[in-house]
């Protein structure tokens, strides 16, 4: 009995691309039961997982399937089961109604993620122009020793953080308003970096992908020089798998 690393669940009829390899270069195969199939590879469970190669391998297996027209429910990193028989039984057979319902619901849809980053400090420049107090404090402490201006610097930074958060929220709303007409659902993700303007995942019907991408291009042109947009995907619906996650795109 060989341990199985589980990437995700798809329909049993799915054809795994030839030569697709996963963690440790192991061949990716499909374990099926009824209409469901689990995407797995053999795992030598002798070491901790989580190197960059492990993470990239997990993502690559799922992205390869998403780029083909395969609907797949992605599992979070680190799912492993004791053997292929257990995958067929305890995972697929015991959960078949729920897995099939989720697969049917997501079939024909892809996840596209749009990230925006303020170009070349544009947000800081806008904040300086829009918030006289910030500019004033900055001028006042310029050139003074750091030790004597500690409190002012903390206060300055707090004001900048608040202004940046308001800017990110407003830009996130503008991005959602521009793109949600072309999507079915959306999930706003927390912005993780100071210079990040927005980070939103959209569930888009395959037939509407071109329309959606055109709208992203249009927004990118509108924001040229201010916010640089990145479009990621198509990827498996990571943000929309637990039932009801994400919100309706208006």
């Amino acid at each position: 009995m060989t341990a199985q690393y589980v990437y995700g669940v798809t329909f049993a009829a799915t054809v795994i691309p030839e030569n697709l390899t996963g963690i440790d270069g192991a061949a990716v195969t499909l374990v099926t039961h009824g209409r469901c199939g689990a995407v797995v590879s053999d795992l030598n469970a002798g070491r901790p997982l989580g190197t960059r190669y492990d993470l990239l391998a997990h993502e690559n297996v799922l992205a390869s399937l998403a780029r083909g027209d395969t609907p797949v429910l992605p599992f979070r990193f680190g799912a492993a089961m004791s053997g292929a028989g257990e995958v067929a039984g305890e995972l697929l057979s015991d959960n078949k109604e729920r897995l099939l319902a989720d697969l049917e619901q997501l079939a024909g849809r892809i996840e596209l993620v749009v990230k925006g980053r303020y170009d070349n400090g544009s947000a800081y420049r806008e904040v300086l122009a829009e918030e006289p107090e910030i500019l004033e404090i900055r001028e006042r402490i310029q050139g003074l020793p750091e030790d004597s201006t500690y409190n002012e610097r903390v206060h300055l930074g707090e004001l900048v953080a608040i202004a940046m958060a308001a800017k990110q929220a407003a830009d996130g709303e503008r991005l959602v308003a521009a793109l949600s007409p072309y999507a079915e659902r959306l999930a706003t993700r927390a912005t993780a970096r100071e210079d990040e303007a927005a980070n939103v995942a959209f569930l888009v019907e395959r037939d509407r992908r071109a329309e959606f991408e055109k709208a992203v291009e249009a927004l990118g042109e509108q924001w040229a020089g201010r916010v640089r947009l990145r479009l990621l995907g198509p990827m498996p619906p990571y943000d929309f798998v637990s039932s009801g996650s994400g919100q309706e795109a208006a």
């Binding site: 992205a63 004791s82 990118g220 990621l232």
Partner: protein, 80 residues
């Protein structure tokens, strides 16, 4: 600050897969179905190396970084 990594640029939008490690980490560690919700008996506990979360916590350190960051920029109108 353009990334030197070969990226297909088309018009005003960068397109790429989620191949940057940061993008991948954000996806597969935080999102996706959790297998424990489906399986109990035949799960194998594998140790997953903890990856430092890249979460910006509002804290004094963060504020000081902002204060530092805004030093490098000059005021400009909304348009530039």
């Amino acid at each position: 600050m353009q990334s030197p990594v070969a990226q297909r640029q088309q018009g005003a939008v960068d397109r790429s897969g989620a191949t940057a490690l940061g993008d991948v980490v954000e996806l597969i560690l935080d999102k996706g179905l959790v297998i424990d919700a489906f399986v109990r008996v035949s799960l194998i506990g594998i140790e997953v190396l903890s990856i430092e979360a890249r979460i910006v916590v509002a804290s004094v350190d963060t504020y000081l970084r902002y204060a530092q960051a805004i030093n490098g920029f000059s005021v400009s109108g909304g348009t530039s």
